[in-house]
């Protein structure tokens, strides 16, 4: 965030500040005191399961939803009561929202015409934008004659041409097939590198979020669960929810009993398994139980030196992923997933014993789900 100091004052005008934003529909409150600062040039991704309020907040930024409470500033100006066109934003919608009755050219020019931009300038800007996005050949076509990817490019062109202070993307890639989605994602990333326009991007796809975002805002039920760089979110999830939401295959979460051991160690036991952790890393004082979180990649097969700890069970299910296999190991109804090299070749029904990498485990409060990791704990 210190990077912004090198930018010119004009560009600095495009920071977003949300202070205690609230959205209510009648009696039900769907966004609870949302606080966020988005720096100039930053690419922020709102991530969360459906219904978490991410699109609502985006639409509040755009001016498409009323703001029920709090303040919204864009570029230093309070914009709560400004209509969309006066907020200096441009938006790309999930289903492109192209004007079906207009040609691609007219779609792109529609906003500029409203601003009474001279025709010559409109033409030159269309040329510029369509060059950038490779749309020259399609300018005279109707949107229905284009493929999904091309339509999405038109939608981006329509947003770009207005040279907005802020780009808003509302799940722009979710209507595309997997291959095209990858391709467009990379294009959006490149575009941001070139234009450096402040961007807020909404998605439910963690892969998009991780790859595109400078910072991720993880939302749940209208509240911020965690804000941070992708790495922070992945490595230091602030809650069991974040930990479970981020990362594929998902983290194993299991409630266990806490037993203090000598030498600053703790042992967590439960469901026929146990793991030893460094008690100094976690705020475990006075706790009898905690939720253990361990990613499948951070489990390995028992070796000679792993003094009795670990999870025993039989192989219940094997999912082949290529280089690796995801193996469900279970005992007494509880299962734990582990990524193993394909070469290890586990077989169904085979008894295994898994040991967690003690440096990589997470512990959460059983009731609140809050992480018990001490802030100063070092990660590997």
């Amino acid at each position: 965030m210190s990077a912004i100091t090198s930018l010119s004052p004009e560009q600095k005008m495009s920071a977003i500040r949300c202070h205690h934003l609230i959205k209510r529909y009648g009696e039900t409150q769907v966004v609870h005191a949302f606080d966020l600062d988005v720096a100039d040039n930053e690419f922020v991704v709102f991530l969360g399961p459906s219904g978490c309020g991410k699109s609502t907040i985006l639409r509040m930024l755009a001016g498409l939803e009323d703001i029920s409470g709090g303040d919204l500033h864009i570029g230093g100006q309070r914009v709560n009561d400004l209509p969309p066109q006066e907020r200096g934003i441009a938006m790309v919608f999930q289903n492109y929202a192209l004007y079906p009755h207009m040609t691609v050219r007219d779609n792109i020019a529609f906003g500029l015409k409203r601003l009474k931009v001279p025709k010559a300038e409109i033409d030159s800007r269309i040329k510029e934008v369509s060059d950038t996005l490779g749309l020259e050949r399609y300018l005279q076509r109707k949107p229905t004659e284009l493929s999904g990817g091309q339509q999405q490019r038109v939608a981006i062109a329509r947003a770009m041409i207005k040279t907005p202070k802020v780009f808003l993307f509302d799940e722009p890639l979710s209507n595309l097939d997997a291959k095209l989605r990858n391709h467009m994602r990379i294009e959006i990333a490149k575009l941001h590198q070139t234009l450096k326009t402040t961007t807020v991007y909404v998605t439910h796809d963690q892969h998009e979020a991780m790859t595109l975002a400078d910072r991720i805002v993880l939302l749940r039920d209208g509240r911020i669960e965690q804000v941070g760089t992708p790495q922070e979110i992945f490595e230091r999830p602030r809650s069991a929810f974040v930990a479970g939401f981020i990362g594929t295959p998902p983290m194993n979460l299991r409630e266990m009993a806490v037993h203090g051991l000598d030498g600053g160690q703790c042992e967590l036991r439960g469901g026929g398994g146990s793991v030893r952790v460094d008690a100094r890393r976690f705020a475990l004082e006075g706790r009898a139980r905690a939720t253990l979180g361990v990613r499948p990649a951070h489990l390995h097969l028992e070796t000679a030196k792993s003094n009795g700890e670990g999870f025993a069970g039989e192989v219940q299910l094997i999912e082949y992923l290529g280089n690796e296999v995801l193996v469900s190991v279970g005992q007494g109804g509880e299962e734990i997933a582990v990524l193993l090299p394909s070469a290890a070749g586990p077989r169904l029904g085979e008894p295994l014993r898994l040991v967690a990498d003690a440096q990589q485990v997470h512990l959460f409060d059983v009731a609140t789900g809050a992480s018990l990791l001490r802030p100063d704990a070092v990660l590997h």
């Binding site: 498409l64 939803e65 009323d66 009561d81 209509p83 969309p84």
Partner: protein, 289 residues
């Protein structure tokens, strides 16, 4: 959803709603007022007679008959229309290629678009005892002309036939389109369960379309109120009063036989109240949301 309070809804809905309300409510109020008077066409002096018209109605044999005929007409045309629509729609869905569906759909819309006056005339002529295309084979075989309009029961059935012809075929197209909106999986699943074709439709497809089919029946109930044009052109309520529906009798009383518009209006008011209450109830009942 709109961030800025716009007056658009008021500006857009206001005038239309105002016009509708004036055009609907003023006549309604007038209809009630007139029904409480003793207005006759061409007679300047009118006075209030309050409910005497209504009292008279219930001892008027023709009024009671017309209520009966109207009810028979509703039940007959609605059920026959729905039966024809479901049958033809299903047959098209099952047995016709897409191209034939297209052709038949076009053809089946023709009758409903015909002005009812035209439809009535076209069939009246087709059923003409001497020159009719339909009655001709009967005449050629038996040597006797077939006069459908002379028999009280046949006359009603014949007029109802024309109504069902107009609406049943049109609804068949809608049933077809509805069937086409259904996902194919249940059909395939039922077939894998060794269901016969008709069973697939009777137990799988049509139950899935229950809601739209009820809506269709509702539309037909409302439209069946407009029997007047057909009856006016084809039978004038005859023979006797066997096809005299409420609107036909009200019109007769107001215009053909006597100019008793107050008396006619009292019938119209009863009809309006009955249909509004009945349809509102049915509507709310079929659309619980």
């Amino acid at each position: 959803m709109r961030s800025h309070k716009t007056r658009l809804p008021a500006v857009f809905i206001g005038p239309g709603l105002l016009v509708l309300a004036v055009l609907a409510l003023v006549p309604t109020v007038f209809a009630i007022a007139i029904s409480l008077q003793d207005r006759e066409l061409g007679q300047a002096d009118t006075g209030w007679v309050w409910f005497s018209n209504y009292v008279q109605l219930f001892s008027d044999r023709r009024f009671l008959n017309s209520v009966r005929v109207s009810l028979v007409w509703e039940v007959l045309t609605v059920s026959a229309t729905m039966a024809l629509a479901v049958l033809m729609g299903t047959l098209m869905h099952r047995c016709a290629t897409p191209r034939w569906r297209q052709v038949l759909s076009m053809l089946f819309i023709v009758p409903v678009l015909l002005p009812r006056v035209s439809a009535a005339f076209v069939w009246k002529f087709a059923f003409h005892p001497l020159f009719g295309l339909i009655t001709w084979p009967y005449k050629a075989i038996t040597g006797e002309p077939l006069d459908l309009f002379a028999d009280p029961v046949l006359a009603l059935l014949t007029v109802a036939f024309v109504d069902v012809w107009q609406w049943g075929l049109f609804f068949a197209v809608i049933v077809l389109k509805l069937l086409e909106t259904l996902p194919p999986q249940p059909f395939e699943a039922a077939r894998l369960d060794h269901a016969k074709t008709w069973e697939v439709y009777a137990y799988v497809a049509l139950p899935m379309l229950k809601a739209p089919l009820i809506s269709l029946a509702f539309v037909k109930m409302v439209e069946s109120l407009r029997a007047f044009d057909l009856i006016y052109v084809m039978t004038r309520g005859g023979p006797g009063i066997s096809t005299e529906t409420l609107d036909m009798y009200a019109f007769s009383q107001g215009f053909i036989e006597s100019g008793r518009i107050s008396y006619a209006s009292s019938m119209a008011v009863l009809m309006m109240v009955a249909s509004t209450v009945a349809f509102t109830y049915i509507w709310k009942w079929t659309k619980p949301s």
